[in-house]
């Protein structure tokens, strides 16, 4: 493009600035074209079930009062197809096809059972009390304020952290191949612990535990009478068990 000017028109400096601004503004316009998706499903507050199969992008699920599963998705760029279907009165499935990253924020009744999967993106779950399964290949998993009888969280290269209650006869599995695994449990938690870290080491906090086995790589121990089962595993990362203050 060639910009010319005459003596009585705008100065060359201003002309150049105008062109530059146009380029910048058109560049910024790409994210503005991002798509949003929102959908809500009425479910039973006592028995609802949500499955999310995302590919790239984050998944955040937060417990909310009421009897609805509310899905908000934000697609920043590229082409992805979001399919949200109510398979039965209590069951909702959300699935993404295509190759664009999609970020989800989902509100669910607290008792909901969750099954969340993505291959590149973080997963965050807050304050749910239903059974919970979360898996990602590249990304962190954060489970906050959980009061569930069954938890399974697994990331291949991200960190996995859990804070919440340990219910009697509950099962809590937190795994990461190369990330850090962290669990913050109540001081009075009654559980048996199996923890293994091949390279990163184990830090078991201030729990009073009786050890059945203890090496530098793995621990088999009991806190209280061992009613719940806590399984922490990482190959390359470290394990940290904390007492809730």
């Amino acid at each position: 493009m060639k910009i010319t000017w005459e003596n009585n028109s705008v100065s060359p400096w201003i002309a150049r600035r105008l062109v530059l601004s146009l380029i910048v503004v058109s560049g910024l316009a790409i994210p503005v074209a991002a798509q949003s998706f929102s959908k809500s499903f009425r479910v039973s507050p006592e028995a609802s079930d949500l499955e999310v199969v995302n590919k790239m992008g984050s998944v955040t699920v937060v417990a909310a009062e009421g009897n609805a599963i509310t899905i908000t998705a934000h697609q920043i760029s590229g082409e992805a197809r979001i399919e949200a279907v109510q398979k039965s009165p209590s069951r909702v499935k959300v699935e993404v096809s295509g190759s664009a990253p999609v970020d989800f924020v989902v509100g669910v009744p607290p008792h909901s059972t969750l099954d969340l999967l993505c291959y590149k993106g973080s997963i965050t779950v807050k304050y749910v009390t239903g059974q919970l399964r979360a898996r990602t290949t590249e990304g962190d998993i954060q489970l906050i304020g959980i009061r569930s009888v069954r938890v399974e969280a697994r990331s291949t290269s991200g960190d996995v952290s859990f804070s919440g209650d340990v219910l009697p006869s509950g099962s809590y599995t937190l795994k990461s191949f190369s990330g850090r695994v962290e669990a913050t449990l109540p001081a009075t938690a009654d559980f048996k612990l199996q923890a293994s870290s091949f390279r990163g080491g184990l830090e078991l906090g201030g729990f009073q535990m009786s050890f059945n086995k203890q090496t530098d790589k793995s621990v088999d121990a009991v806190s209280g009478s061992g009613r719940a089962a806590v399984y922490l595993w990482t190959q390359e990362g470290s394990i940290h068990l904390h007492r809730k203050p």
């Binding site: 199969v53 699935e95 291949t156």
Partner: protein
């Protein structure tokens, strides 16, 4: 008495060419070792069956025909060569006439059978034993198989099955998805091989046993997850 020695002596035993003391030792072993006794019975059966076969000696005309065809073949090969080569050891051997009787052939067959039987017996006997590597050039395939952990063969089979399904689908994946899959699978495999090697060197190491199984599970879960993605 060692099983290998017993099996090697069985032919002489059946021929009645062993010393009395050797026979006694061998029979004590046979009474206590069912696999060797089975080999003896099979060998005896083959020998008696072979004895009942009629004796056939190839006619002289057959040897003439074979000799002629070899000579024709050699002369064709020799065309174009600048110098006539001296007959080698192989050609001298080929030009010799051998006559085998059927009992001799049956005896050779029996020996082959006995060796195969003995090898199979040894394989099955060592399969349940822990691996012990001291020096040497490294673990053999048999040793590696013997050191399999409980549940490991099933896990490997399941992984291979899922892997073949995913490999068929992988071409349709987006490049970033393929990259993430391959890279993480590679890392798990690398760790798995490392743990496996350590476990071969020290089969009783419970930490490594646990790690190997955990890594197989990790690999299996990764395959399951990618299988679910559209």
């Amino acid at each position: 008495m060692d099983c290998r020695l017993v099996v090697n002596s069985l032919s002489n035993y059946l021929d009645g060419s062993l010393l009395e003391a050797e026979v006694r030792l061998l029979e004590i072993h046979l009474a206590e070792c069912p696999p060797c006794n089975i080999v003896r019975l099979e060998l005896a059966e083959i020998r008696s069956a072979a004895r009942e076969l009629p004796l056939h000696t190839p006619q002289r005309a057959l040897w003439k025909r074979i000799q002629l065809s070899i000579e024709v073949g050699e002369s064709q090969q020799g065309k174009g060569r600048e110098a006539i080569e001296q007959p080698g050891r192989w050609s001298r051997l080929m030009s010799r006439h051998f006559t085998f009787t059927l009992p001799q052939l049956a005896g050779a067959g029996a020996l082959v059978l006995a060796l195969v039987g003995f090898s199979l017996f040894n394989l099955s006997r060592h399969a349940g034993q822990p691996l012990n590597i001291q020096g040497g050039t490294g673990p053999s395939l048999i040793q590696a198989k013997a050191a399999m952990l409980p549940g490991e063969p099933e896990m490997r089979e399941d992984i291979e099955r899922r892997m073949s399904i995913l490999n068929a689908r992988k071409a349709a994946w987006d490049p970033p998805m393929r990259e993430v899959f391959d890279s993480h699978l590679g890392k798990i495999d690398e760790s798995l091989n490392h743990c496996r090697r350590n476990l071969l060197a020290n089969p009783a190491d419970q930490d490594h046993q646990q790690m190997v199984m955990a890594l197989y599970e990790e690999k299996l879960r990764l395959l399951e997850d990618f299988d679910k993605l559209k």
